[in-house]
Every structure is written in structure tokens, then in C-alpha cells.
């Protein structure tokens, strides 16, 4: 990796060992499934075998009578959920839909939807009990494809749902939950000015976040009405508020204890098992633990949606885009709320366009309710737009990176959805890609191709809280509410350390439950290092202020005379007056008491992220199989707090993007049942499927954050499918318009090109 900034900080930009590392490499870290409690009962969930069915009745009496069964719950046990909408991480959700997603109401809307849950003395008894629950289903025809769903006369998932248009409430009953539009300039006039026009349609399959830890939740509902939840979540406060609304319990009665989390990528924000555990715990008076099997994770939790997309783009001979039109139809799954909104805003974001129009449609289908997945919505629309751009470049015989330099967005440019960009580093990523040796290295063999693509993600800020207390030995303890999925304890602690002039190791971060820290928004949206980093920065400033005052008191001098330089408090005037941080810390109890700093923030000043990727592939024209030969990811990370974890986020995003590009997909049969709900047949990349992934961190500091943090986690998943599609095109001369570009699909495209089978 390379960075472009000279050393400005003592701690930021270094690579300390993460504070929770030893626990995790020795197997001692406690994840949700590792929890054991006295008197623990085990829960299991009955799931719908049908993709679409009316539930006429549920008879749980035989299950309840089975020895060892302690309680059974169904949808009727959830208090009538109010029809409110809650902002949840990267999506908003209507509580009635969330309630039906947690336990079905009068309809099952996807195979795998939870119908009932059982608590028993052990898992085997619970499983046996599931088989005794009698559900009377009336199967209905399923709608499993976005294009089928929007046809007139398609079976309706929600008979009472009216299509919403941003700005217009229609009276139309359909599976289109929502439609919106962005417009800039004059599309038709722009197309008139074009010398080349490329128009393509795309179809992409649903894919899953694929975290290795399955969902789990344990609940204890005490007789005093206090509910404690232990779970694997990206946002403990989000779990608390969802539970409060679903169960109609005051938030103050709920304590959510976030266990270590084995991956989330957006998929562990919405609740699934937690409400069931709570209901079962209330009925039994015992703690109840539920964990999902891998198949339940695939079938019962949110994938990111399959899509149908259309892109039309015109450009002139000078290499300027004159007009672009994008239409996006995203599958929301069983309930409204696909990430089409973000997908639409991201689609053309890297480009400064005069004339453009984007239409987005949120469409319900009989599949699991979509959840956020790393830059939700952006990867799909980038697949469409970035491959069309490549084709435009091919027709114009312009280098695709040079083309991006000509059209790329910069500070002050207006996005198609309206707002203007602040300081962004898109062009810097393109220039770094152009300059990278990878881009100049010959491909060195037949059936090889090189592709490039760019990507955009907004990043996020939001609410966060942090406490820092000074220990007598000169270290500080940092308490935060941000769940650590990929090394944020260290990236947050480093920011406090920088302020206090301490080494990163002298800050001891702990992630605590919802009763022990102020409100903190999810670990998601690439927000944590920015927002909790800001909270830690502010809390450290609070500590610093108090320590300066304490030193002033000890030295009987005005506080203005004292400064903190590299961990030493000293008088600006008297060189004899100095105390190291540790020396001063040791005197606190005797000079006025302990020092604790705190901060709660609503972080603004979010700096967006751009990435530009280069990939070399080799395709076997006889089998259609693509191998990734070399991969280079360039990204504007803002200031890289801990470069190793920035690289790690980039490499992980690229790996997921490669999986999405080549092999991952939900494979549904005609009945809408997923046929490949295992890690054997849902083909995530193994170590043999990937090369080393070279990363180039471009640092264009975000002016909205004291250390210039932007957020890095999400954008790296955006360019890979498009970059790989472009590389395959250059290797074989066929334009891929589907995801995944599995060997069978590549073969079909080749046969089509050759006008028949070889």
C-alpha cells in the first residue's frame, strides 16, 4: 500500500495491534452463541415452506404438550405493531412489516419466513416440537422476479399496498411500493448532442452478506419487567428501539448487551431472533437462546436484492458524456424497502453530468426481505453504469481512465439528485490508478483482459457517545457503544490517544451495553471511525481540559500557561514544571478526584468515498470460467487512521465484490424456494479463488472531521463486478449484462456471439 500524506500525527497512521486481538486469536472472545446462562432454554423457529401462502390457522397444542417444551409463540403473540416507520441503520422500516417479518401474520410471503418459535429444554426437543405444529396454508402463486412482479395482473403480495411516488400518492394497487425520480438538465437535448449512444439492460441476482457467524439472540425477562438481550448486532441501540416498538415495552426496560459480532456487512441491523427470544423468555420465565442454522440465515434473513436495470448513455467525440438515463428496479423482498434509493443516488455520482435522469422503483417479491449489504444498492447500479461507460469508451477509442478524468466529479459539482459535492477525492483515485504499474503491465497471454471501474458511497455520520476515564497508571479507559466488527476499537482509541499524547496501547477501549453508554447509532454506513472517532476526540478533549486545569491547580498557575505536548504537561514559561501524563494521572485522587471525560455527538461533516479499481482476468473460452489474475484497488480513504485496517476493509470489500461478480447468487426454483442455501452451493470465494489484493490508499482528508476521516468500509465492494465485466469483455469480446457472470452465463454469451454452440 502507498499513501500520499507526510507524517502529521504521532498515533494516527501507525499500525498498533488491536486491543481485542489477543482475545480473538486465542478463542477467548465471547460471541453470542458462546453465551451460557443458568437455566437456559433453547429455541427453534418454524419457517414457511411456501414462498407465498395464506395462513388459515396455526395449531400449537401438540407441540406444547410435548415433554420438555416450555413455550410456543406465533405472530399473535406480538403486540399489534403500530404503523410507524423507523430509521434503521441504512434503511427505514415500517414496524408492521418488521413485525410480520419477525413472525408472519396472516400471510407467508417468502420461503423461510418465521411462523412460530418454540422454547424447550434442548435443541432436539425444540426441533421435534416444530414438527408437531400444524399450520394450515393456502398456497398462492409466488412472484419471484422483479419483472414478473411489475406486470399487470401479477399476484399481489400486499393487497392493501398502494404505489407511492415521492410527491404523489397514487391509488394504484401493485407490487411497486415506491417510485422516485431525479432529473438534471435536459435528457433528450443531451442525447441529441451525442456522437455515440450505448443502451443496455441488466439483470442481477440476490446475494447474501455471508457473514460466517449465524444470527443468535438470548433473552432473559425478569419478573421485575426488565428485559436483557444478548445478541450479535451492528447496533445495540437499534435492537433496543425495535424491541421496544415490537413488544410495546419502554426502552428503559430493555438492556441490550452486544456480544462480539462475527461479521455483519449490513445484515445484522434488523432484528430476527431477538424478539422471539424475548417473547419466549417472557412466557417461560427462563433465559432462552436461539441460533440460526446456515440455511436459516440464507432463507430467513435479508439478502441484497436482485435487480433489473436499464442504462442509456450518450457521449461526444471529445469524450464528454452528454446525457445519461438510468432506470432501476430493485427487489425489496417480501416487504417494501430495497436499497434502490441509495442505488439511484450512487449510480451516476462519480460523474459531473449536464443532462441526466434516474428513476428508481422499489418492488416487492416473494423473497426474503432485503437488508443492507455494504454500500447498499450501489454495487448493482455501478455494474450497469460502469460497464456502459466502458462500452462508450470502446466505441470512442478513449482510455477508460482518461475518460473518467474528463467526466469525473470534483468539489462544487452538482450531483444528479441535486446537492453539490464538497471536497472529494474521485479524480485523485483515477490519477493514482492511471499511474499505477498495474495499469501499464502487459497482460501476457491469450484470453486475458483488463477492466477498470469506479464506485461511490456516501459514508455516514450520526449519533455516538463515548466516556474516557483516567487511570492512576497513566492509561485511560474508553467506553463506547459502537460494536466492533472489524477493528474499530483500535481506530477509535487511536483518535483519543492522538489527542492525549498517549500511545494507542495506553487507551483501553470497551464496548458496553445500552445501559452503560449514551445512544450510539449502528456500526454501519462506514460511520464508526468518523462518528465514534469524533465522540472519542471530543471526550479526550474534555479529559485534556480537565487535566490541564488539574496541573494548573497543582502548580498554582493559570491554565493558559500550561500545555500538553507529546504526553507531557508542561509550563510554557518554567521548564522545571513538567509532569508526564502518567505522573499527573497518579496525582489525581489526591488533588481533587478522578477525571472522566465524556462526549455525545451527532456527527456531521460526512466526506464521501470514491474508489477506482483495476482487474486482470483470464477466461477459459471452453468452460467460461474466469480467474482473477491481479487486482488493484485505489480508494480515497480520507486520513487513514490505522492503515492496516483500511487495507483490510478494501481487500474484504473487493473479495465480496468478486464473489458477487462471478459466482454468488440465490438460486430459486419455480416455487420460489431457494435451492442453494448452504456454503457448498452458495459459492463465496475461498482463498484459492483470489489473488493478493493490492491497495492504494489516497488520502484526501475530509475537512468535516478533525482528523480528516471519511469512512472506508463500503465503497470497495462497488467497482468489482463492473471492473470484472469490463475485463471479461476485453478478454472475450462479449459484454456481460448479468450477475453473477458464472461460467455458464459466460458460455451462453460466447455461444450467442458465435451464433450457436461450438
Amino acid at each position: 500500500m502507498t499513501t500520499s500524506t507526510p507524517k502529521k500525527y504521532d498515533v494516527i497512521g501507525t499500525r498498533p495491534i488491536r486491543h481485542d486481538g489477543v482475545e480473538k486469536v486465542t478463542g477467548r472472545a465471547k460471541y453470542g452463541a458462546d453465551l451460557q446462562l443458568p437455566g437456559l432454554l433453547y429455541g427453534k423457529v418454524l419457517r414457511s415452506p411456501h414462498a407465498h401462502a395464506r395462513i388459515r390457522s396455526i395449531d400449537t397444542s401438540a407441540a406444547e404438550a410435548l415433554p420438555g417444551v416450555k413455550a410456543v409463540v406465533t405472530g399473535s403473540d406480538i403486540p399489534a405493531a403500530s404503523d410507524t416507520v423507523q430509521s434503521l441503520g441504512e434503511t427505514a422500516v415500517r414496524m408492521r412489516y418488521l413485525s410480520n417479518n419477525v413472525l408472519a401474520g396472516d400471510k407467508a410471503l417468502y420461503k423461510g419466513q418465521a411462523i412460530a418459535a418454540v422454547a424447550a429444554v434442548n435443541v432436539n426437543v425444540a426441533e421435534e416440537a416444530l414438527a408437531l405444529i400444524k399450520v394450515d396454508y393456502q398456497p398462492l402463486p409466488p412472484v419471484i422476479n422483479v419483472m414478473d412482479a411489475i406486470k399487470d395482473g401479477a399476484p399481489l403480495l400486499h393487497e392493501d399496498m398502494l404505489t407511492q411516488e415521492l410527491g404523489k400518492r397514487t391509488d394504484k394497487h401493485s407490487n411497486i411500493a415506491n417510485h422516485f425520480q431525479f432529473k438534471k438538465g435536459d435528457l433528450e437535448a443531451g442525447l441529441q448532442k451525442a456522437d455515440v449512444i450505448v443502451e443496455r439492460e441488466f439483470n442481477t441476482a440476490s446475494v447474501h452478506q455471508g457473514y460466517i457467524e449465524t444470527h443468535n439472540g438470548t433473552a432473559l425477562w425478569s419478573s421485575d419487567g426488565n428485559l436483557t438481550i444478548w445478541c450479535s448486532t451492528q447496533g445495540s441501540f437499534m435492537v433496543r428501539s425495535q424491541l421496544a416498538q415490537l413488544l410495546m415495552v419502554p426502552e428503559s426496560k430493555i438492556k441490550v448487551v452486544p456480544m462480539e459480532i462475527g461479521g455483519g456487512f449490513g445484515g445484522k441491523i434488523s432484528v430476527y431472533l431477538e424478539p422471539l427470544a424475548a417473547l419466549l423468555a417472557r412466557k417461560t420465565g427462563h433465559p432462552v437462546k436461539l441460533t440460526m442454522s446456515r440455511a436459516e440465515v440464507f432463507e430467513g434473513t435479508g439478502p441484497t436484492p436482485g435487480t433489473h436495470m436499464k442504462v442509456k448513455m450518450g457521449a461526444n467525440k471529445e469524450g464528454r458524456i452528454t446525457a445519461a438515463q438510468v432506470s432501476l428496479y430493485y427487489e425489496a423482498g417480501a416487504f417494501p424497502g430495497s436499497p434502490v434509493n441509495a442505488g439511484a443516488m450512487c449510480a451516476l455520482a462519480p460523474y459531473n453530468l449536464e443532462n441526466a435522469q434516474v428513476d428508481g422503483y422499489d418492488v416487492v417479491v416473494n423473497k426474503p426481505k432485503a437488508a443492507a449489504y455494504r454500500a447498499p444498492g450501489s454495487t448493482q447500479s455501478a455494474m450497469a453504469v460502469e460497464t456502459v461507460i466502458d462500452e462508450v469508451c470502446e466505441k470512442l477509442k478513449i482510455d477508460p481512465l482518461e475518460f473518467r478524468l474528463l467526466n469525473g466529479a470534483k468539489e462544487g459539482d452538482r450531483r444528479v439528485d441535486g446537492p453539490t459535492f464538497g471536497r472529494i477525492g474521485y479524480l485523485e483515485t483515477v490519477r493514482a490508478a492511471l499511474a499505477h504499474p498495474h495499469y501499464k503491465t502487459p497482460l501476457g497471454g491469450p484470453h486475458r483482459g483488463r477492466g477498470v471501474a469506479s464506485g461511490f458511497w456516501f459514508n455516514a455520520g450520526g449519533q455516538s457517545s463515548c466516556y474516557i476515564s483516567v487511570n492512576a497508571d497513566g492509561t485511560v479507559s474508553l467506553v463506547e457503544g459502537s460494536v466492533d466488527i472489524g477493528g474499530t476499537r483500535v481506530s477509535v482509541a487511536m483518535q483519543a490517544a492522538e489527542v492525549l499524547g498517549l500511545p494507542a496501547e495506553a487507551v483501553k477501549p470497551t464496548v458496553v451495553d445500552t445501559d452503560s453508554v449514551g445512544y450510539t447509532w449502528v456500526t454501519g454506513g462506514s460511520s464508526t471511525t468518523l462518528k465514534t472517532g469524533l465522540a472519542a476526540y471530543e471526550a479526550a478533549q474534555d479529559v485534556k481540559r480537565q487535566l490541564l486545569e488539574r496541573a494548573a491547580k497543582i502548580w498554582e498557575t493559570p491554565v493558559e500557561n500550561i500545555e500538553l505536548v507529546k504526553g507531557v504537561f508542561r509550563s510554557k514559561h518554567d521548564p522545571a514544571l513538567k509532569l508526564t501524563f502518567a505522573e499527573l494521572a497518579g496525582k489525581l485522587l489526591a488533588t481533587g478526584g478522578p477525571v472522566t471525560g465524556s462526549a455525545s455527538v451527532d456527527a456531521k461533516g460526512v466526506g464521501p468515498a470514491f474508489a477506482t479499481h483495476i482487474v486482470d482476468v483470464e477466461v477459459d473460452p471452453e468452460t467460461g470460467k474466469t480467474q482473477i489474475l491481479r487486482y488493484t484497488a485505489v480508494q480515497d480513504a480520507g486520513t487513514a487512521i490505522h492503515p492496516s485496517y483500511v487495507e483490510g476493509q478494501i481487500q474484504g470489500g473487493v473479495a465480496q465484490g468478486i464473489g458477487w461478480a462471478l459466482n454468488e447468487e440465490y438460486f430459486f426454483n419455480q416455487q420460489g424456494q431457494m435451492a442453494n442455501s448452504s456454503f457448498l452451493d452458495y459459492r463465496m470465494p475461498t482463498s484459492l479463488d483470489l489473488p493478493l489484493i493490492d491497495t492504494v490508499i489516497v488520502e484526501v482528508p475530509n475537512p468535516g472531521h478533525p482528523f480528516g476521516v471519511r469512512g472506508v468500509g463500503e465503497v470497495p465492494i462497488v467497482p468489482p463486478p463492473a471492473a470484472i465485466a469490463n475485463a471479461i469483455s476485453h478478454a472475450l469480446g462479449v459484454r456481460m449484462t448479468t450477475l453473477p457472470m458464472s461460467p455458464g452465463k459466460v458460455l451462453e454469451a460466447l455461444w450467442k456471439k458465435e451464433g450457436g454452440r461450438s
Binding site: 432436539n124 462471478l662 459466482n663 452451493d681 458464472s742
Partner: protein, 291 residues
């Protein structure tokens, strides 16, 4: 997982008795990498599992150049490819043993188990067929032998009768100027189920110019792994040349009876049979000292 009885057998006789007693409700446990998954998923149910790993005959791995290989049904993959003599004599077998699952699976899974599991996609079966392997089956009536190509009868079903189990496999010694190769097509590079698989073996004349004999067997393109006799006919007596290989590949394609499913389409699979048959034959020729 439903409860069952676990019993270790130390002798062939004891295993047969334990199995016979429970009939269809008993199943053999060797590496466990298929049966444990199937029991857990409820795809199979048993009352008794008979662990045969303690039976000496099921653990034998002995090769000599005149008698060939005796491969116990409970011998895990790693023992096969880590045995230098076996690896030298049967590289075609090693192809399969070293690509079934990942390292962890190869630490437990056995080729005998792969055969008895009788999946259409079994990677272990085509190479056994083309190497002329014979199953040694023990049962209440004593020992009988069955050629591997006749062992599987349908997906998940074999010729084994209640009380019978596969003790070992007998593979003849490699003939001079012979070679075998197994190739499968998977979308990933490991940890995958074959979309199509082809095993090929060839025996050439002393000058390496003509096929004295040849065998081609397929997986994942029919309800059971398939020996393609038409491919053999296309090759035997023919000159070692692209033409004969192409004829064999066409014969293999014609013999295949693939289905559409989540792992591939009929067209794709039939096409892959052609590609893989050519490549497997070329690999086998190379090992025979040709090509």
C-alpha cells in the same frame, strides 16, 4: 439430529452382524463427511451407525506392482495421496483424493464412502471406474465382488443389500504405457460440487502410437456415474491423435444425460463433458508418456 445407536465393529463378521440386525435402519460410518450431514439435515434416518474404522481389512492400504492396490473402505483421502508408492502408481486416483472437499474433509473422507454415498457428482467414482476397480463387499452370505461401474444404481442407492458393506476396493496394477486422469469442472477452484466430471484411462502400445485400451467415465451428468463404452470403442485400436480423442469426446457427450439444476444446465454440462473428455484423455496420455 435424531438419536441413534453408535457401535464400533472390530471385525468384518461383527460389522455384518450389526448391520444385518437392523437392515435398512443401519448404516456404515467411515469418514462421516456425508452421513453426518445427511442425518443432521434429516435427509437420512438410521437407528444404528456401525463404525468400520476399527476393522483391519477396511483400513488396508497396500500396493505392489504385481497384485495392484488394495484400498480399505475406511482409508481417508490423505493417506492415499501421502503414500508415495500409491501416488506414483495411480496419479489418476490422486486427482480425485486430493480434490474431494478441502484439507479438513480429506482428513476424514474416504473413497469407499464417496462410492457408497452414490452421489451422481461423486469425484471418486469415475477414476475408480477407469482404473478398473472392483468392490469387495462383505455380507451375511460371505464376500462378493462388484465392478465399480455396476455399484451405484440411482442417486444415493447402491447394489448393497441389507447387512452388506463395502470392505475395500481392489485396483489392478497399472499396465506399461498407461495413464489415467480425472478432471472436473467447478465454478470455484476448490470446495465445490462438480458441474461435470470426467475420468479417463488409456493403455498404449509399446511405441505409444495406438490405444490398446481406454476407458472414459463421467460424473454429474446422469443419475449415476457412467462408464462410456462408446468412447472406449472410439479409441481402442485407433491412432493416438486428435481425431480419435474428438470421437471419444463426442461419444461421451452423446452418452451423458444431464439435468438442469442450480449447478448447471443441460447444454452447459453436455458441452463440458466434451471439453473435459478431451482434456482428461490428453492428461492420461501425458501420464502414459505421450502428448
Amino acid at each position: 439430529m435424531r438419536s441413534f445407536e453408535y457401535v464400533q465393529a472390530r471385525t468384518v463378521k461383527k460389522a455384518v452382524a450389526l448391520l444385518a440386525e437392523k437392515g435398512e435402519q443401519a448404516r456404515v460410518l467411515a469418514g462421516g463427511t456425508d452421513i453426518i450431514v445427511q442425518l443432521r439435515a434429516g435427509r437420512r434416518q438410521v437407528e444404528r451407525l456401525v463404525d468400520i474404522k476399527g476393522i483391519p481389512e477396511a483400513n488396508v492400504l497396500s500396493y505392489n506392482s504385481s497384485r495392484g492396490l488394495r484400498l480399505g473402505a475406511a482409508v481417508p483421502c490423505y493417506r492415499i495421496y501421502e503414500d508415495k508408492a500409491v501416488a506414483r502408481a495411480y496419479p489418476g486416483l490422486i486427482d480425485a483424493a486430493s480434490l474431494i472437499g478441502g484439507t479438513q474433509i480429506q482428513g476424514r473422507a474416504t473413497l469407499g464412502g464417496n462410492l457408497c454415498n452414490a452421489a451422481p457428482s461423486a469425484d471418486g467414482i469415475p477414476p475408480l471406474i477407469v482404473l478398473g476397480a472392483v468392490c469387495v463387499v462383505a455380507g451375511p452370505e460371505g464376500i462378493r465382488e462388484v465392478p465399480v461401474e455396476q455399484f451405484c444404481t440411482a442417486p444415493g442407492r447402491t447394489v448393497l443389500k441389507p447387512g452388506e458393506f463395502l470392505v475395500s476396493l481392489r485396483i489392478p496394477p497399472p499396465r506399461p504405457h498407461s495413464g489415467a486422469h480425472y478432471l472436473r469442472f467447478i465454478p470455484r477452484n476448490e470446495m465445490d460440487i462438480a458441474v461435470a466430471g470426467v475420468g479417463a484411462s488409456v493403455v498404449l502400445d509399446d511405441r505409444g502410437e495406438r490405444f490398446l485400451s481406454a476407458r472414459v467415465a463421467l460424473s454429474s451428468v446422469a443419475p449415476t456415474p457412467l462408464l462410456v463404452s462408446e468412447a472406449e470403442k472410439a479409441l481402442v485400436g485407433a491412432a493416438v491423435a486428435d481425431g480419435a480423442i474428438q470421437h471419444a469426446a463426442e461419444a461421451a457427450m452423446a452418452a451423458s444425460r444431464p439435468i438442469n439444476d442450480m449447478r448447471g444446465t443441460i447444454e452447459q454440462r453436455r458441452h463440458l463433458v466434451g471439453v473435459l473428455t478431451r482434456r482428461a484423455l490428453q492428461g492420461a496420455l501425458k501420464r502414459a508418456g505421450k502428448g
